[in-house]
């Protein structure tokens, strides 16, 4: 097998916590990300899933060096990302781009869309003069916007269109990998579907890899190839999506799946309810970080931290001492929704009227 596009090993980010204003004393550190290891192959989508504060966004930012890691290594296409100098870093950011959750906050309100897209093209010497205009037009077309949109400002667009602009800007430098940080969570469902379809089309057309950071498991199942589930700065399970959704091995993954409301009132599935809140990352529980909320926790879980270890035949990995003995109940209804036939008919109807 060839070398993966991106490989991350033992990645960590610790934020120091101070008390006092004049004489600051370090009173501890938040281990936002604590020893992550994963790989992303060319053309692959890896999802990072978890709840607020699990470290998924911090991980995305460290890969682009928008935030410096505290420990660990990041290798991208054979280069050691953490030791790059400024020049090399600029080249790296040509190859790795990012799309943010809030497209409005991440676009400069005083630049027209055309100017926003021209910036990366000029910076990386990709286009100039009359070519520049052509490139901008084709980028806009690629994300489903029109050439005349180039003259408009971000406030003139709807949320979905702004996210398309964010995607066009990311595509401008012709990256190999795009970190998508909750790209659809701020959008209405009908618009969300448009953007998900767009991301999938672009991936196919350009052979892109994505790191897809999200909290919505249904979206993740739709778009990713492999899924890493995070809890308090650690990966608790990392598996191909088919295996992860069919047979979630970690009790946290099971609880997470069980908690997703399913748009089918007739769905029969098991209810696993976690009690309490996520513990503070300032003072995470000893041993397995999930043991305070885990229904299967035993004494061993309180003292010994489980390593992320292989299990199963398809490259599944889980960080749980008792994964072999925990049988997952039915968490994901696999039945076709009752409206499926009608939806299929509606889908076929479309070209007839177009």
């Amino acid at each position: 097998m060839s070398e993966p596009l991106l490989s991350v090993d033992g990645l960590a980010k610790h934020f120091a916590v101070h008390r006092g204003v004049l004489f600051q004393n370090k009173i501890g550190s938040v281990r936002a990300v604590d020893g992550l290891s994963f790989e992303v192959a060319e053309g692959e989508t890896l999802a990072l899933v978890g709840e607020s504060g699990c470290g998924k966004s911090t991980t995305g930012r460290m890969i682009l060096r928008l935030m410096e890691a505290s420990a660990g290594s990041i290798r991208f296409a054979g280069k050691d990302v953490r030791s790059l100098d400024r020049r090399a870093l600029r080249d790296l950011r040509r190859d790795i781009q990012i799309i943010f959750q809030d497209p409005y906050a991440s676009l400069n309100p005083r630049l027209t869309v055309g100017e926003t897209l021209a910036e990366p093209l000029r910076l990386h010497g990709l286009a100039s003069g009359p070519k520049l205009r052509q490139r901008i037009d084709s980028l806009l077309a690629e994300v489903g916007l029109s050439p005349w949109h180039a003259l408009r400002y971000p406030h003139e667009f709807s949320g979905g269109q702004r996210q398309r602009i964010g995607i066009a800007r990311a595509l401008a430098s012709e990256p190999k990998l795009i970190v998508c940080d909750e790209p659809v969570s701020a959008l209405d469902v009908s618009i969300q579907a448009q953007v998900i379809n767009l991301l999938q089309d672009l991936k196919e057309k350009r052979g892109l890899s994505y790191i897809f950071i999200a909290h919505d498991l249904a979206v993740v199942r739709h778009i990713s190839d492999r899924v890493a589930v995070m809890y308090l700065g650690k990966i608790v399970e990392l598996s191909p999506k088919r295996q992860l959704f069919a047979m979630p091995r970690h009790p946290y993954t099971q609880a997470l799946l069980s908690a997703v409301p399913v748009p089918d009132p007739s769905a029969q599935r098991a209810r696993i309810r976690l009690t309490g809140d996520i513990p503070s990352p300032l003072n995470p529980p000893s041993g397995c970080r999930f043991h305070t909320r885990c229904a299967y926790a035993k004494d061993r879980c309180k003292v010994e931290e489980p390593a992320l270890r292989p299990i199963g035949q398809e490259g599944e990995k889980v960080a749980c001492h008792f994964a072999e003995t925990i049988v997952p109940p039915t968490l994901v209804p696999e039945n076709e929704p009752p409206y499926a036939a009608r939806l299929a008919a509606l889908r076929k109807f479309r070209p007839a009227t177009a």
Binding site: I223, P338, Y339, A352
Partner: protein, 333 residues
């Protein structure tokens, strides 16, 4: 059964610049005692303005209610003097919002805020009110409620704050609880806890709930009946099972097709609804969904379809309903 709350041809307009548009345009529905009614739709469909209109909390200016009636236990709330309205709010009708941090007072303790409402609506003394506040925190399952009572909102997690909001809303035994996106800001495992809590509380208290949400999953979990809104109007109304089994408006069907499903591998594309919600100042003639509807024809583009009964408790505003006939007809042609 007589409805507890009846909204009749409600129309709420907003003024912006020199223009006026109706955020809620002739919406009618009822809420029975003990019932949970889900109101679903995307941003700008008028679902939140509908609930604010019921409470008479629409910011004026720029908004004002220009037509219709809101009858609660037989009285039209739109004609009540403000003083009487004030006794209703937080008393017989109460409300919880999406963002519990911005709806709680940051410089008052949790206890003081719950007690304030109880003292306002009930003829009880401070000690009794405090006991009631404590009882409410226990009811919403907040751990160590005694100490929490004297804490400030910032000391609580998001899920805990939403529990406090619910405790506050239920403290005076409301007949109607309006929950506007109560779980949207929460993580999914916390959302599940809050949904369980609401389900449990409505069994115990018999409170009718108006659940406003954009999430069809949440509706499927909690609602008995569902209203789908689009661009200020109701496009479909049905008992929850029927809405998911037999959606009869192309917009409802489109929404269902837009949601990535947990049980599918995503090998098929999502059926996205093309285009965007119409500009409220330049609404299309006829059916407001027609510019985005694959089934639309010239009639749809000129004549607004009325909300018509097509089954028991099932109403839809579509010229093409029942959809199966239309779709089968097209396949045959």
């Amino acid at each position: 059964m007589t409805p507890l709350l009846e909204v009749d041809s409600l129309r709420t307009e907003f003024r912006s610049g020199g223009n006026t548009f109706a955020a809620v345009d002739g919406v009618s529905f009822t809420l029975a005692p003990g019932e949970t009614l889900g109101i679903v739709g995307e941003s700008g469909c008028g679902k939140s303005v509908t609930s604010l209109s019921i409470m008479r909390l629409v910011p004026n200016p720029p908004g004002h209610i220009t037509g219709g009636a809101v009858r609660f236990q037989g009285r039209n709330l739109l004609n009540l003097p403000e003083a009487e309205m004030r006794t209703l709010r937080g008393g017989a009708i109460s409300m919880i919002f999406q963002e519990p941090m911005t709806s709680l007072n940051p410089v008052q303790t949790i206890g003081a805020q719950i007690i304030e409402g109880i003292l306002l609506h009930r003829a009880v003394g401070p000690a009794e009110a405090r006991a009631r506040a404590l009882e409410m925190l226990q009811l919403v399952r907040i751990p160590s409620p005694e100490t929490r009572l004297d804490e400030y909102p910032h000391q609580l997690s998001g899920g805990m704050r939403q529990r406090v909001m619910i405790a506050m809303a239920l403290a005076c035994d409301p007949k109607v609880l309006i929950a506007d996106e109560p779980t949207t800001a929460l993580d999914v495992t916390i959302q599940a806890q809050i949904l369980d809590l609401l389900r449990d509380l409505r069994e115990r208290t018999g409170t009718a709930i108006m659940l406003i949400t954009h999430d069809l999953g949440v509706v499927a979990e909690l609602a008995h009946r569902v209203i789908v809104m689009y661009s200020g109007r109701i496009v479909e109304e049905a008992p929850v099972d029927l809405l998911f089994a037999d959606p009869q408006h192309p917009y409802t069907l489109g929404l269902l097709g837009s949601i990535p499903r947990l049980g599918s591998d995503g090998d098929e594309r999502l059926t996205a609804i093309e285009g965007t919600v119409p500009n409220p100042f330049a609404l299309p003639a006829g059916c407001r969904f027609s510019p985005r509807c694959p089934l639309a024809d010239s009639r749809c583009r000129s004549e607004a379809p009325p909300l018509q009964e097509i089954g028991k408790g099932h109403r839809t505003a579509c010229w093409k309903a029942p959809l199966d006939q239309t779709l089968a007809g097209a396949a045959a042609a």
